[in-house]
Amino acid sequence: MKTLLPLVRRALSKKTGKSYFIFAVGGALLGCTLLLVSVQLWSDMQATVRGNASLIGGDYIFLAKRVTTIGALAGGKGGFSDAEINTLRRQPFVLSVGRIEASRFQALLGMQFLHLISEAFFESVPDSFLDITPRDWTWNPRSASVPLIVSADFIDLYNFGFAAGHNMPQLSRKSVELVDFDLTVRSAGRSFVTKAHIVGFSDRVNSILVPTSFMTWANANYGVRGTYQPARLIVKTRDPADERLIRFVREHALQTNAERLRSGKVRILLELALSATALIGGVIVLLAAFVLVLYFQVMILRSDSEITLLSHLGVGWMTLFWTYFRRALVAIILIFGGSLGALVWSKNQISAIVDAQGFVLPEGIGMSVLLAAAAMFVMLLVGNAVAIMRGVRRLL
């Protein structure tokens, strides 16, 4: 003869609203998926921004002391002392600090055959802070020519601004690299004449750069004497939008390049969008959980006379509870199996898209996602268990 549970299920099976059930499970599935995917994206974004990869904006920022009117009138140089640089180096958000050396000699840069000549100003940064490393990026006193890296903005300014307005030909990067410049380095009565040529264009440093070896040599031989402090620093940071970094900049009256701020803003917008998605997902999950709970309450109420009769025949409330809770358990496992599957699938899709853009997302599903999933699992489980228990016991 049959055992009890199948018979109890049979006695209560007459009235099941399949459409309610599908609606509730489908809704919960959608909500859970939305929530989990946005939490996953959020955690990927955190990991990416905090790691080495530069997904949005740069990891490099420039720091300078803010120029104030009073300071300028007082003739202050506004440089960074060694102590200040060391303080900066010790900050947890700083990976490394590079001094930007400025030329302290007079330099004339010209193209003799065009009779063009201009005063020039150079800076140098340690090579590890450059975004490009051209082949010819070396200099020693026997070199025939000084390599230069100029900001990519300069050639754009010339091509789209100056050349168009003055009826001059536009220049490609390659053709600019072929031009030989005449460089004269001067100081009180002495001068040094050499050639210079552009070897690359930097998107990161907005200046005219020479190799550190040339800068050191020229400053030593032709530079103005006296102690010198760098006016600008280049800082490599884990997270250009780090709260502590922003606070440090504000507290020490520093100014920084706008790029970092922009990336920070992009990130804030992205975080907002992801939070909104997570919020919507959360609301859908709550609504779906509510519908699921209602479904079981309706099921129990529809079978109220059967439940009462079963109880009068001596069926314990645990058996009645389990008959319904078993179905809730199946629904919840379906919801979580489905939404975790959808999460893995969408993670792969997003990874493929992001890979094509040249970025790499962290592998696998994040811990925070699993925690969120576990929290929802427990919420649905407990919510339904309580609702079913109450519904059944009220009829006994």
Partner: protein, 214 residues
């Protein structure tokens, strides 16, 4: 275990009992262990109410019903569940079978709760009451008389000290009533169980020790 009623007044009968003498309501009444009692009354005097109070379904009464040492009002749900599994069995007046389930399923459900009888015994009862072929049809297709006999077989699928029968022969012809009375007699005899039968007039085929008027 004997059952004692101390001044029990069901709430719906309060008004009626002010000028009416009853041998059960609003007095001291005792059902002794193993005793067979016929409770007779016209409609509306609380026959079903009495059985449902004893079975723990109705709790809307004043006074106390004491079973053994304990007032049954204090039993919780778990206690009632176990009482309904092995102390008291009932044949409901309205039969209360699951209409979509077959006769066999209805009976097997009760038996699955208690594990009291085997399938052979169950079918033997069905043959004796001439409802063997009803076991395989949904109960909604059965006549009330057939349903009444299936419901009785269900009530036998457990150990009991008291068997409560609410108008047990109401839908049966004389032959079937006699067969059912014989089966009830045998079962109560072998289990040394008490019997409380509610109805309009006593059925000659089922011997009861005394009669109480409501």
């Amino acid at each position: 275990m004997s059952i004692a009623l101390h001044n029990v007044v069901p709430h719906p009968l309060r008004m009626f009992l002010t000028d009416h003498h009853s041998e059960v309501w609003n007095t001291q009444a005792t059902f002794n262990k193993g005793e067979r009692v016929f409770v007779s009354a016209p409609s509306g005097k609380g026959k079903t109410t009495l059985l449902m109070i004893l079975y723990g379904v109705r709790k809307d009464y004043d006074g106390e019903v004491v079973c053994g040492e304990q007032a049954i009002r204090s039993r919780n749900h778990t206690r009632w569940t176990s009482v309904r599994r092995d102390s008291i069995s009932v044949l409901f007046q309205e039969l209360r079978l699951f209409p979509e389930m077959t006769g066999l399923e209805n009976v097997a459900l009760k038996n699955a709760i208690t594990g009291y009888a085997d399938e052979l015994k169950l079918k033997e009862y069905a043959v004796r009451l001439d409802v063997a072929e009803c076991l395989y049809r949904p109960c909604r297709q059965l006549s009330l008389g057939q349903q009444q006999r299936i419901a009785l077989i269900r009530s036998l699928m457990q150990p009991f000290e008291w068997l409560l029968l609410d108008e047990p022969f109401s839908h049966l012809d004389a032959d079937n009533a006699a067969a059912m009375a014989a089966l009830i007699d045998e079962e109560c005899e072998s289990r040394e169980a008490g019997l409380i039968v509610a109805g309009f007039t006593p059925f000659a085929g089922l011997k009861c020790g005394r009669e109480l008027g409501l």
